[in-house]
């Protein structure tokens, strides 16, 4: 990968990937990934379909062992550091009659992986209440999750990920099924809560534009390779042309950024346009 980050090896980095490569079915899904994320920074992960975004998340979650390289979360092996990584999944569409209230869902984020059942308890209740407050979800704390809107569910998933006090939280396409306004709301909320709590955010999305105002750095993935840096450093014609392996233009219109495949590409693509 292109070494755009002067702090590549950082003393107190939250996430460290060194020489990570993954091969699936004889194809290199990721190769030569080196990156180091700082505490509290907001990183957007952008890239076309098949660029390796999901694979990267699986590696950080410890669900997939890379074929080469090392992955450290707060200096520890990922499998020993699971409690330090929060996760917001791509899709969550509960049945309308699921007997689960908003507060029950958030509580699972606190101790759902432990054996046995919880007898409640004052401290647990207070912690859940506090997490619901972070995402302004107290209003519907006792509603069944199956009756909530996509935006309301998204907030609960963020609270569920943050309640265990992780150092880093991964969000897999959280904006995919939301309208433009809800997208802005979710991004602002994640940015604010993570900033307040000093949590590093890794947010995967197709469109970088909703993130431009909150993102500290961007991780651009294409063809299994990555470029990490500020938007101005990475989202440039020359950098992305090398990453994609064919000519790419970066167009800025009304404060929005569009990445457009050039005439020599097999087809004209527009990765970051939204309809």
């Amino acid at each position: 990968m292109r070494n755009l980050d002067p702090l590549r090896v950082h003393e107190d980095s939250v996430l460290d990937l060194q020489g990570v490569a993954v091969h699936l079915g004889g194809r290199a899904v990721l190769q030569g990934i080196d990156l180091s994320l700082r505490p509290g920074e907001f990183v957007g992960v952008i890239g076309p379909n098949g660029a390796g975004k999901t694979t990267l998340l699986k590696i950080i979650l410890g669900l997939l062992r890379p074929d080469e390289g090392t992955v450290l979360v707060a200096g520890r092996d990922v499998r020993a550091a699971r409690s330090l990584v929060g996760y917001v999944p791509q899709s969550f569409a509960p049945d309308p009659d699921l007997p689960l209230r908003a507060r029950d869902l958030v509580a699972l984020g606190l101790d759902g992986a432990r054996w046995g059942f919880s007898l409640g308890g004052q401290r647990r209740r207070a912690k859940v209440e506090e997490a619901l407050g972070w995402v302004d979800a107290l209003r519907y704390a006792d509603q069944p999750v199956g009756r909530l809107s996509g935006g309301e569910l998204q907030r609960l998933l963020v609270a569920q990920a943050l309640i265990s006090d992780p150092r880093i939280v991964l969000l897999d396409e959280p904006l995919a099924n939301l309208d433009l306004r809800s997208q802005g709301d979710v991004v602002a909320l994640v940015g604010r809560v993570a900033h307040e709590r000093g949590v590093t955010v890794v947010l995967v999305t197709h469109d970088m534009n909703p993130l431009l105002s909150v993102m500290d750095r961007i991780l651009y993935l294409a063809r299994g390779q990555a470029a990490l840096g500020t938007v101005d450093e990475v989202v440039r014609g020359d950098v992305l042309t090398q990453l994609y392996g064919h000519h790419v233009d970066v167009v800025r219109v009304h404060g929005r950024i569009l990445v457009v495949g050039g005439a020599d590409a097999e087809s004209l693509t527009c990765n970051t346009c939204d309809s």
Binding site: L63, V85, F92, P96, D97, D142
Partner: protein, 283 residues
């Protein structure tokens, strides 16, 4: 007074076979609705339908071999559960469930034919019976219940999480596949206990009916689980009384009573909606 005596005739509580039926029936109801709670949460009703039916082949095989039918049930329900879990694809769990079920039913029909079909005990296993439950059966069923209670108490939170939000649970260290296997083994446990009493064809209603109805009454997982167990117990008690009064099969009453509870649940959800001014009827 006449109605009272017609409903609760002499011997309903005192006949020794009825005492066995009360004990075993109550234990089976608790076990079935406990497991059924997770069946409904996971939307795994087809598996809950298939395991008891597949286990029937084990009973038929036991009859043929002259062995213990409950042991046959246990072996076949566990094998079919493991088969469904290990062959299952994420895209269509129904396919493998159906294939395992068909393989088991095929074996069952083979065993029945070889063993000289229409043995009364086989008929009882299909539709259930209460008269033939001995003390040994009661203890066996209580043992199964105890095992299931310990297992669900231990697995409660991870299984709940893996059932409602499998992606997050897996990311946080609750392995999806292992939970699926453990869940299906719980279904096998419930099937082994329920089939001799309610029957292979109808034990599904005791597993899914109370839990499905409870989802409308309870708002939190704990509430829904408690209501499911309560409805399960009431269902089997009503059914035992009606079956004793009329001499009709207990499985029929279990199916009918749980269906009534489910209908009440839907009605409750509907009225709740109207009460709160929402125009939408629950789907």
């Amino acid at each position: 007074m006449g109605l009272w005596q017609a409903l609760f005739p002499a011997g309903l509580f005192t006949a020794s076979f009825m005492q066995n039926a009360w004990l075993a029936g109550t234990a089976v109801a608790v076990l079935s609705s406990l497991v059924g709670f997770f069946v409904v949460l996971r939307g795994a009703t087809f598996a809950a339908h298939a395991v008891p039916r597949a286990s029937f082949a084990g009973a038929a095989g036991a009859v043929l071999a002259g062995g213990d039918t409950v042991l046959g049930l246990a072996i076949f329900s566990a094998l079919s559960a493991l088969g469904m879990a290990s062959l299952g694809s994420r895209r269509d769990q129904g396919q493998t469930t159906a294939l395992v079920l068909m393989a088991a039913l095929g074996l069952g029909s083979l065993f029945l034919t070889l063993g000289g079909a229409y043995a009364p005990e086989v008929y009882a296993l299909l539709f259930g019976q209460i008269v033939g439950i001995g003390r040994a059966d009661v203890f066996a069923i209580l043992g199964l219940l105890l095992l299931a209670l310990i297992a669900t108490a231990l697995l409660y939170r991870p299984l709940l999480w893996s059932s409602v939000a499998p992606d997050v649970a897996e990311a946080k260290g609750v392995p999806r596949r292992r939970m699926e296997i453990l869940f299906l083994l719980l279904v096998a446990l419930a099937a082994t206990a329920a089939v001799p009493i309610v029957g292979a064809l109808l034990s599904f209603s005791l597993m899914v009916g109370p839990a499905a109805a409870a989802a409308y009454f309870g708002r939190s997982p704990g509430q829904a689980l408690a209501v499911a167990v309560l409805i399960g117990i009431l269902s089997i008690w009503f059914s035992l009384v009606f079956a004793y009064d009329t001499g009709l099969p207990v499985g029929f009453f279990v199916a009918a009573v749980t269906a009534v509870f489910y209908g009440l649940g839907r009605l409750w959800a509907y009225l709740w909606k109207i009460e709160r001014g929402g125009g939408q009827v629950p789907a």
